[in-house]
């Protein structure tokens, strides 16, 4: 593989890991604060699955990068501009409705993406995707059930679900940004652009069940994949990375 392509490959694997890591950290913030004990466990479980994915992807990105970085080094010792996650996952939890909206939009997308990843030419990526996609099925179902329950619930829960979806909607376009053509040609990434139509249908069918309208299309905000993040990511990292920054190399 030529150098430029292998560099892009590392970035693409890092992006997969960063999506999982950042959303996993966000879900962890709910621990002890969720509306019910069962939801507290559910959100922590989802976060755990995502952090597991992050370990695999970032561990692999570290190996590919050849700089001797392991998953922890990439998670704890990079700054905002080196993160390649999409903007959606770094958005604050807000209320439970906003968290569910974010999860619903993301997990529906991630499931489609990972289903396609099993046909990539990189056996490490296909193995991780094949394993994780079974868990993501649970995430997507959990989030969709709650979209319906809140959307079709009380006036208050409906209002919050609408607000949550409206908040997250501007970050949807980024999920489908076309991937690098060389990487797609080498079957090292799935081009997310091809997922848009199926995603639209899946999301629409849940919104229909919930009796909710699709938020109005607006101008999508992008940039996360190039390291241009919202201010929220810096705050998230300052908490997540605190220990390793203050006590470098600390271990259990």
């Amino acid at each position: 593989m030529d150098k430029a392509l292998s560099q892009k490959h590392v970035e693409a694997v890092t992006a997969l890991g960063d999506d999982a890591l950042i959303l996993g950290q966000r879900l962890g913030e709910w621990c002890g604060h969720a509306p019910t004990l069962e939801l507290d466990l559910s959100l922590a479980n989802l976060g755990l699955d995502l952090i597991g994915q992050a370990q695999f992807f970032l561990g692999y990105a570290g190996e590919l990068g050849g700089q001797g970085h392991d998953a922890d080094a990439l998670a704890y010792r990079r700054d905002v501009y080196s993160f390649r996650n999409c903007l959606l996952v770094e958005q604050p939890n807000g209320d439970f409705g906003q968290t569910i909206a974010r999860q619903f939009l993301f997990s529906t997308w991630q499931k489609l993406l990972f289903e396609e990843m099993v046909s990539l030419s990189d056996p490490r990526l296909t193995a991780i995707a094949e394993k994780a996609v079974k868990e993501i099925g649970y995430h997507a179902r959990f989030a969709a059930d709650w979209v319906v329950r809140l959307g079709d619930g009380t006036a208050e829960s409906r209002q919050r679900m609408i607000a949550g979806l409206a908040w997250c909607w501007r970050f949807v376009d980024e999920l489908f940004d076309p991937a690098d053509a060389d990487l797609v040609a080498a079957r090292l990434v799935v081009n997310p652009a091809i997922l848009r139509e199926v995603w639209n249908e899946k999301v629409q069918s849940v919104l229909d069940d919930a009796g909710l309208d699709r938020p109005a299309a607006g101008r999508g905000i992008t940039g996360g994949r190039r390291g241009r993040h919202s201010e929220h990511l810096g705050h998230l990292l300052s908490e997540m990375q605190f220990l390793q920054r203050a006590y470098p190399g600390a271990s259990w």
Partner: protein, 165 residues
Amino acid sequence: MATIASDLSDRIIEILGMVPDPEIPAVSLVDLGIVRGVEHDNCGAVRVLLTPTYTGCPATLVIERSVRAALDRAGLSDVAIQSRLSPPWTTDWITEEGREKLQAYGIAPPERGDGKGMLKSEVPAICPQCGSVQTQEVSRFGSTPCKALWRCLDCREPFDRFKCI
């Protein structure tokens, strides 16, 4: 040589059959289906292949450590441990004996059949306390990543059910 290798494989599986899962000590790692085999290469090196249940299962590290300790105790320090993701673990790999032990321990075993498509049409779990099928899912996510929380409508006991994946 082949016999020696297969004797050693059998012995290793027997040893791992006595190592309990750290979170569900009623079943062994072999019952759970996460010991994927023993590999011998041409140079005589031996590896045990383990696969995680869930991607983020925090028990994975503890499992590796307990396998290491069990092998060392048996004088098999040369046997390496390797983690393998593919093919991904499925609850169908839990042995018949494992399913019985789960049931006796109070955990309803998973539905059979690959997790695909099972998400929509979930068959009620059988209550491990009283055997009733009048049961209800309370939460799809329970005390560990691999379990869901259920309750029995007859004996009123809550119980864990292994999730089908």
